[in-house]
């Protein structure tokens, strides 16, 4: 009896998924906290911010606990003096940071001014 030759093709396919999003400039937001044994150190952070956002960030060396340095957007320091802002960031950041980490932080500052005038 004549039979039908059934050919079954083995196929393999691949599904490629590409997720495109905008690369934020700068990618590090407002503050970077760099741990002492993090994969990058203050000099690498300085080079990165200088390359991506020249003259917009300041690197502040810190020798406290697990923290080695902070990279702070300069525009923040125009709203609040460095000596008032940095201790707050330091205190909160140290609660999360370990030596091996780099943490980025977004900081929103609202300055409320109330003044009295004679009417």
């Amino acid at each position: 009896m004549a039979g039908h030759n059934i050919s079954r093709e083995n196929t393999r396919t691949a599904e490629v998924s590409i997720r495109l999003t905008e690369f934020e400039i700068p990618p590090m937001q407002d503050v970077l906290l760099v741990g002492k044994k993090a994969p990058i150190g203050p000099e690498a952070a300085r080079r990165m911010v200088d390359a991506l956002s020249p003259e917009q960030y300041e690197v502040v060396p810190v020798k406290e606990g697990a923290l080695e340095a902070m990279v702070v957007r300069k525009s923040l320091l125009k709203l609040i003096p460095k000596e008032k802002l940095l201790p707050i960031i330091l205190e909160e950041g140290q609660k999360l940071l370990t030596e091996n980490m780099v943490i980025k932080a977004q900081i929103d500052i609202v300055v409320i001014v109330k003044r009295e005038i004679d009417v």
Binding site: K37, A38, P39, I40, G41, P42, E43, A44, R47, N100
Partner: protein, 288 residues
């Protein structure tokens, strides 16, 4: 004779840029068999990266973020002993050598200690005579201070060797060396000069040096030995009484003269059976 690091330092130095990774630095260290790499950028020394720095850093880090800043740098003319003191003071394993603002070498603790070993008397553990010369010159050059040499000569030491044997004689010398070390004030440097002779240099008023000489001689006399014999020593003191301006660049001859004067004074003390003689009658008049 000055013993400096020039002849033993490594001149073939592997350097590294601050902007490469620690992972790259590790490979360079392995290939060059160096455990310390001077970090140089555009000909300027920025720091040093040591194996300790590498161990403590993430391999992704830049050398700039792991290196030791402000490394201890010396010139090739630094003495072996001063180099050793710097290593111990800073608790480091190597020194960078700079000459005329240029990196010219690197020297490790191993090299320094190995070379210093040649200048240590194996019997007493004290430095040899060249150490005294070196320290005397350093004291002279420090603010042009006056220095005093105390030369201590054991009395009748040959009899101890003959009557009790050289092993006992060696033990006596060891005990004398130990005892002298216990009595040293700060900034006073002792050596075994030769045979049964010890010498020390210090910068102090002559009166203090004379008091020290008497103390040392009496402490030697108080030493006790199993074989129930006693020993004594005579001391000569020279220095601290300059009459004319010292000629510049004559430190070597000044030190040699003082040691010689102290040695002669100790011989006279031994002959006249005094404990201490001060070389006032043997003053050296300098001719300018």
């Amino acid at each position: 004779m000055l013993n400096n690091i020039k002849g033993i330092m490594n001149r073939n130095v592997q350097i590294i840029s601050p902007w490469v990774s620690i992972a790259t630095a590790v490979e360079i260290m392995k290939q060059s068999r160096a455990s310390g790499l001077p970090v140089v950028e555009e000909g300027s020394l920025k720091g040093i990266l040591t194996s300790r720095d590498v161990r403590e850093a993430h391999p992704n880090r830049l050398v700039a973020d792991a290196m030791t800043h402000n490394p201890v740098a010396v010139t090739p003319q630094i003495s072996l002993w001063h180099a050793k003191e710097l290593l111990e003071e800073h608790q480091i394993e190597r020194l960078i050598v700079i000459e005329d603002g240029r990196l010219v070498g690197i020297i490790t603790a191993t090299q320094i200690y190995a070379e210093l070993g040649k200048h240590i008397d194996p019997l007493t553990g004290l430095p040899r005579a060249e150490y005294l010369y070196q320290k005397a010159i350093e004291l002279l050059l420090q603010n042009n201070q006056e220095i005093i040499i105390i030369f201590i000569d054991m009395n009748d030491f040959g009899n101890i060797d003959k009557d009790f044997g050289h092993v006992v004689g060696d033990q006596v010398l060891r005990q004398v060396g130990d005892e002298l070390q216990k009595c040293l004030p700060d900034n006073c440097f002792l050596c075994r000069y030769a045979g049964d002779e010890f010498a020390l240099v210090l910068s102090a008023p002559q009166k203090d040096a004379i008091d020290l000489a008497y103390l040392l001689v009496s402490r030697i006399a108080q030493l006790e030995f199993e074989q129930d014999f006693s020993i004594s020593a005579s001391a000569g003191v020279a220095g601290g009484r300059r009459f004319n301006q010292r000629l510049q660049r004559e430190e070597n001859s000044t030190v040699s003269d003082l040691i010689n004067m102290a040695s002669l004074a100790s011989t006279r003390a031994k002959r006249e059976k005094c404990q201490v003689i001060v070389a006032e009658g043997l003053q050296l008049i300098e001719v300018s």
